[in-house]
Symmetry: C2
DNA sequence: CTGAAAGCGCTTACAG
DNA sequence: CTGAAAGCGCTTACAG
């Protein structure tokens, strides 16, 4: 027995009366083992409950079967749903996940996190951080200094040469606004997320395009910059109505801010959707029980997580079979499409 | 250079003109290195960007500097907040986190997860799964088959001989109910979580104790068993009022169900808190912007995660210095206390 | 204060 | 189909 009393391949080999690498062959499902030897070893493994030391295996194979996942704090709705998809698909494909949460999207910890991942010999990295401020700069750093495949998921998708899975955020803005126009809105206000967030800017661009080119002329209303919180949505409605008392609809860039809008509308005695239609983004579970139930735009975040794992896995396999170089994946960006979930906070199409 | 072009301790040693284990001493901050040797090696390490292979280090040291974290899906409010605390404190203490999400609290995957963790040589395990149905049985399995320290956090705390960090769930029920009584409620209904969840039963017990022994006689109202979802809270209020039309307060076992209650109250034309006081549990961020803002009971979940990491780390250190055995930690349970957050959905103390 | 030797538990060529 | 040898990149005693 080895240190800490764990079983090693040698104990199995002795018990089976074979050499260690015959056991190794069985553990790795190699074809070149005699059927009865194979069965005998399998039985012994099951009996004594042997499982190979992945640290040792990793050392010889040059791969750890671990995926590094870097995500922003789970307080944001998006990342935690992406993480669920990542976890599921990673388990499916036999990877463990090394989780690294960062606290602010523009953190300074990136080099430390990368070197930690690097030291642990992760086979690949999934980078699930929204693009905020100038943090896109990292990605170059990332591509150059990590000798393993990296896939971006979420906010940074499509903005670098790295392969990525993203959501079409401009379409989010377009779909929400088109829905409001269809319901008769002609003065559509916007509560956007922080301007340094790419996702916020894209959603805003979708709103802008759609209001500008509507058949009813320019239907764009006032703008307020929130910070994703419910409180900022609440403040936002007050400001927006002060700027344009005739505003008849609001597109809020996430559900939490939309909730703040609903709250403020109650306080102000504005009926939703009678006086004011409201649309959010995210489709958080509580949304269908807001008062009134919130119309929102759903993003397929779990799918994005699943796809991200498949993409790194592809790259890792290609790399292992020596047919390619670390970040020589096709720099493919997959854009997933959002869809509107119509509930009662917006007037239905006329 | 080694495979995959990574730098090894040998490259550093050659560049510095010393042996490998002198470099090793520097990497591990051993005191017995000549000051100038130390500095020279440090400089070279920084220059060429060497970082040690943790797989190899783990193999020799018999520890991985990885903590296995087993948690239930992040859709539940509690676990994702616990995870945030865990991540933060693990980073602080130099551990990586190997995340394993399970989908249902009574999953059958436990043996697979444990053997995966075991194979990866985790130094310790944090088990953040609520106690549901008979899944407490695992914990024995867990304690016996894992040769490393385990700490329970959340629902299973205090129910086994394993060390654990928990929240006083009975106090949650008591505090919520006392608050309602203080506001003048005399017929307090309960929307409980699923009966097979220990946390739900404890909160119910707190409610039951408090209503039964109130100075105003038995103030317990009707009970409805929800499933933690907003929809079940909504259905719950209808059922409760059907059973007892004079009910003047509801304690909902989480905020989501409380939201459903608020929603149903609007639909039924019951004023909150005028006709009906409502209290939830969790203090989710949106709660302060419900209509009306929700009174709730806060649980210090982040703290629980931090404490859990400290507890395993203690045990790991003790084990490493060979002064103890794997699960010979004091089987200490730390109970953290909840507190009421008073907002507008409940009548203030008279 | 520093180094040569051995070993952690596996897998990868190389023989046979 | 199976095994003896060497090595992955570190660290742990043991010398000096």
């Amino acid at each position: 027995m080895s240190q800490r009393g764990r079983l090693t391949i040698r104990e199995v080999a002795e018990a089976a009366g074979v050499s260690a690498q015959t056991v190794s062959r069985v553990m790795n499902n190699r074809p070149d083992v005699a059927p009865d030897t194979y069965e005998r070893i399998q039985r012994i493994i099951a009996e004594i409950g042997y499982s190979p030391n992945m640290l040792a295996r990793g050392l010889t194979q040059g791969r750890s079967h671990v995926l590094g996942v870097v995500a922003i704090g789970l307080d944001y709705f998006g990342p935690s749903h992406v993480l669920t998809g990542i976890d599921q698909q990673a388990a499916e494909l036999g990877y463990a996940i090394s989780l690294n949460l960062i606290h602010r999207p523009e953190t300074g910890d990136v080099p430390e996190i990368l070197s930690g991942l690097f030291a642990r010999q992760v086979d690949g990295v999934i980078w699930a951080i929204p693009q905020v401020g100038s943090n896109l700069d990292w990605s170059h750093h990332l591509a150059q200094h990590l000798p393993v495949p990296v896939v971006l998921v979420g906010g940074m998708a499509g903005q670098t040469s790295l392969p990525s899975i993203g959501i079409d955020n401009r379409a989010i803005g377009r779909l929400a606004t088109e829905h409001l126009l269809a319901g008769g809105a002609r003065n559509i206000g916007l509560i956007t997320g922080p301007q340094n967030w790419w996702e916020a800017r894209e959603r805003e661009a979708g709103w802008r395009e759609t209001t500008a080119s509507s058949p009813f002329g320019d239907t764009s209303g006032p703008i307020f910059e929130g910070d994703w919180t419910t409180a900022s949505g609440e403040e936002g409605l007050h400001r927006l109505l002060a700027a344009s008392p005739t505003m008849d609809a609001v597109f809020a860039s996430n559900d939490q801010m939309a909730l703040g809008v609903l709250h403020a509308a109650h306080t102000l005695g504005r009926r939703v959707p009678g006086d004011l239609s409201v649309v959010g983004v995210d489709n958080m579970p509580e949304g269908s029980h807001f008062w009134p139930p919130l119309t929102t735009v759903h993003q397929p975040l779990g799918d994005a997580g699943v796809l991200a794992v498949e993409r790194v896995d592809d790259a890792i396999r290609r790399l292992t079979s020596r047919r390619s170089f670390p970040n020589a994946m096709e720099p493919l960006t997959t854009q997933l499409q959002p869809k509107v979930i119509v509930r009662e906070s917006s007037r239905p199409a006329i």
